[in-house]
């Protein structure tokens, strides 16, 4: 049976189990859109910007574990994908982006809306393809999905010229054994496992560094068992939140630049770090030269290039975390670390005394930390949060404990402002039974607020909490601490967010008093038919503490000053 390239695209998606795609049509992708009508099993979400399509596909992929799909036309449609591809690349999110391209006969001639998206996207994709003939298409598409989800997941882009979409082929779906050259063989050296066990057995002050890889591998149970068997405290990366229950007595909270004092001090004092599915990002390590100076290091990651990339390790295990930990646990004797735990308890206590929540409730204005705390308490804590980038992202990470996997999605590696609202739409579409909150600053919200229309059109019932402090708060904080308080280009005029919501037909409320927080959050929760927006007006000049300045030693934390914040 003969089919066109356009038909092959959708057929491939069906064969890969895709029933939802995000996209934006245009000239060079029109043959594909025209053929879409023949495939009623695939629902297409029309976004308001191609960047929104990538973040929705990204959120959908993170929340469902499936490959997210975004579609755009050539030229500006394709370049608008780049931010979303980079976001997915740095956070290891499986995604396939399909772009239209000018016909092969026009390639290289600066045709209207021609851009070399394969060249542009090389560094923000795991792999990418330009399909030059229709017979290639079944091979390429099948491989694209395989690449996106295998090993360390990541985004893949397939650029398909218009004439390739229009051409017909008799080509059948290939029976391919897809084991690609770059794929890592995951058979472990048992000697390395023995070495890891010996290090764990000999350690007096061990810390587990729990990263995103735990969630990607589904290794939460093994991590919990490892921690409990050997009485090892667990520190989380931002994307590792949910990998270990945060209210567990062994949990230290987040590590790194805005991590808990207990986490960072424990890491610096540790004699063993067990890094699981994390990559020693600079926001996690601070100054590499002084990072955890006394510790041996075990590093488990599925990407061999991560072992020893930033931090030299004593034992590097390349593999899929869950099976690696299963084998590690086979012969691991239990252990206790009472003295180490007691020391950590004292650091926790000191941090508690400095906590803004202890003092905030006396002042007249709402603190952002209070907002996070209120969201946690009044929602019952068992919701999915999608955060944007900046201060609110860190406050959420500090004040909203996540007890189960897959309940926080955020742009960690790339730090993409504007991520939260579109990503939350994708998350909600993947997990419609869950309550989903997009938590976003006033700056980030304005970057992608056009996607409100998408949420309304699709009836996606997300709750959007805008934490409005009238500033690009995190940048303001850096200006305050490191640029002599010159607040250049950070005070930001915002529109009336509630009237914006009204214009989109979205119910909204504004809250600036703590005694109204509970009622407002509950009112938002009551809307289940479509999106709802809550503007939370908070203190303008607050900063996220503790803070390790960029590149500083991890234990050189700037703590929240002990004198009352309100007097400052």
């Amino acid at each position: 049976m003969s089919r066109t390239g356009a038909q092959l695209i959708w057929e491939c998606l069906e064969r890969e189990g895709v029933d939802l795609v995000f996209g934006y049509p245009g000239g060079a992708i029109l043959p594909a859109y025209d053929a879409l009508t023949e495939y009623p099993g695939i629902h297409h979400v029309l976004t308001r910007h191609e960047q929104g399509a990538t973040h929705m596909a990204d959120g959908y992929a993170r929340a469902s574990g499936k490959v997210g799909v975004a579609i755009a036309t050539s030229g500006p449609g394709a370049t608008n994908l780049v931010t979303g591809l980079g976001t997915a690349m740095l956070d290891s999110v499986p995604m396939v982006c399909i772009t239209g391209q000018v016909p092969t006969t026009a390639l290289g001639g600066d045709a209207f809306q021609e851009i070399d998206i394969v060249g542009i996207s090389e560094s923000v994709t795991k792999h990418n393809y330009l399909v030059r003939e229709v017979d290639e298409l079944p091979f390429v598409l099948k491989e694209a999905f395989h690449v996106a989800r295998s090993g360390r997941p990541g985004p893949v882009l397939v650029d398909i010229p218009k004439d390739v979409q229009l051409a017909s082929t008799e080509e059948q779906w290939p029976e391919l054994q897809l084991r690609l050259p770059g794929e890592v063989d995951l058979d472990l050296d048992s000697k390395l496992l023995d070495q890891a066990r010996d290090l764990i057995g000999a350690a007096d002050r061990p810390v587990i560094l729990a990263g995103h890889g735990i969630l990607l591998s589904g290794a939460e149970a093994q991590v919990k068992k490892l921690a409990e068997t050997c009485d090892i405290p667990v520190s989380l990366t931002l994307l590792g939140k949910g990998a270990f229950p945060e209210q567990h007595p062994l949990c230290l909270g987040m590590m790194g630049m805005h991590g808990t004092a207990a986490s960072n001090q424990a890491i610096q004092e540790a004699d063993l770090l067990i890094a699981l599915g994390m990559r020693f990002d600079d926001r996690v390590t601070g100054n590499l030269a002084t990072y955890s100076p006394h510790s041996k290091k075990i590093h488990v990651d599925i990407d061999a290039a991560e072992i020893g990339k930033n931090v030299a390790v004593d034992v590097g295990l390349v593999g899929d975390l869950a099976p690696v930990l299963v084998r590690l646990l086979e012969e691991l004797p239990s252990k206790g670390h009472g003295a180490w735990r007691a020391q950590i308890g004292m650091w926790h206590q000191d941090a508690d005394e400095r906590d803004i929540l202890r003092r905030a409730r006396r002042g007249p204005t709402l603190m952002a930390a209070e907002v996070m705390d209120a969201l946690w308490r009044f929602t019952g804590g068992d919701v999915i949060n999608v955060t944007d980038v900046g201060q609110h992202q860190m406050w959420e990470a500090q004040y909203f404990p996540h007890q189960r996997p897959g309940t926080l999605f955020t742009s960690g590696g790339m730090g993409t402002m504007g991520y939260a609202v579109p990503a939350a739409i994708g998350v909600k579409l993947a997990r419609p039974e869950e309550e989903v909150w997009a938590i976003v600053g006033d700056g980030g919200f304005q970057m992608t607020m056009c996607e409100l229309a998408t949420a309304v059109q699709e009836g996606v019932a997300i709750n959007i909490a805008i934490v409005n402090n009238g500033y690009l708060g995190m940048v303001r904080q850096w200006q305050e601490l490191f640029y002599d308080e010159r607040y250049n280009q950070t005070p930001m005029l915002a529109p009336d967010f509630c009237r914006i919501a009204t214009a989109f037909g979205i119910p909204s409320m504004r809250v600036s008093r703590r005694d109204q927080l509970e009622a407002t959050i509950q009112e938002a929760q009551a809307h289940r038919q479509g999106p709802v927006l809550v503007e939370m007006v908070v203190e303008q000049h607050d900063a996220v503490f503790p803070m390790v300045p960029a590149g500083a030693d991890l234990d050189a934390m700037i703590r929240r000053p002990r004198p009352d914040f309100e007097q400052a």
Binding site: K126, E143, P181, G182, D303
Partner: protein, 221 residues
């Protein structure tokens, strides 16, 4: 200890166990350890010979912050399989990182770090030398010493071809320079590990290669 140049296959055969040649002794001291001796990082890889191979490789080298001295790609005896050689001048310690990063590319079949291994490294150079009737013979004589060849003769220039490692080529250039070097072209080094060790695939193939093989089979029948 033998010098790498003494093991040139032109004089000693593939086992590389022959005596020193005249060419080697004129190009400088021969006190290096066997192999490339770690002067520069040399990483060799067996790769699928795809159209995007070179651009993807160069893109990786750039974004991972390598200062690359040379990248060469050439076909092998096996259809659709090429060999890639990357060298980083004066950065032997970067070789392992380079090998790890190259392995992430999905068309890279196997990677070998030759930096400290016994290996043969060669580069081909074409040098256009200015000559007059008197100096032409001198150039020809030097070519004999350095095992170069004159491959083009014109009134005012000759093109000299030679192969060797960086040191031999530098030595040759040094003696040619007084005549006047009009222009030159170098291929960048290629390398192979010595003796019986052979870089082989492990049966993993991309859909691209599988499709090429299907097509080859169809054409053959």
């Amino acid at each position: 200890m033998e010098s790498p140049k003494s093991a040139d296959p032109q004089t000693t055969g593939p086992s590389g166990a022959g005596p020193s040649s005249a060419g080697a002794s004129s190009t400088g001291p021969t006190s290096k350890a066997p192999g490339l001796g770690g002067r520069c990082a040399v990483v060799s890889a067996l790769v699928e010979d795809r159209p995007d191979l070179l651009s993807q490789t160069v893109s990786l080298l750039r974004r991972r912050n390598f200062t690359t001295d040379s990248v060469t790609v050439g076909k092998t005896d096996e259809p659709h399989i090429a060999r890639l050689t990357v060298t980083l001048e004066d950065q032997p310690t970067e070789a392992q990182r380079l090998a790890r990063e190259l392995k992430r590319l999905m068309y890279v079949i196997r990677v070998e770090d030759l930096t400290w291994k016994p290996a043969v490294l060669r580069e081909l150079v074409l040098i256009k030398v200015r000559v007059d009737p008197a100096s032409r013979a001198q150039v020809a004589q030097l070519c004999e010493v350095f095992r170069g060849r004159i491959v083009d003769v014109a009134q005012e220039t000759v093109i000299v071809e030679t192969t060797g490692d960086a040191e031999k080529i530098a030595g040759f250039l040094e003696v040619l320079r007084p005549f006047g070097i009009a222009e030159m072209a170098r291929t960048g080094p290629v390398a192979l590990g010595r003796a019986n060790q052979v870089l082989q695939g492990d049966g993993k193939e991309s859909s691209w290669l599988q499709r090429r093989r299907l097509k080859d089979a169809q054409q053959a029948s």
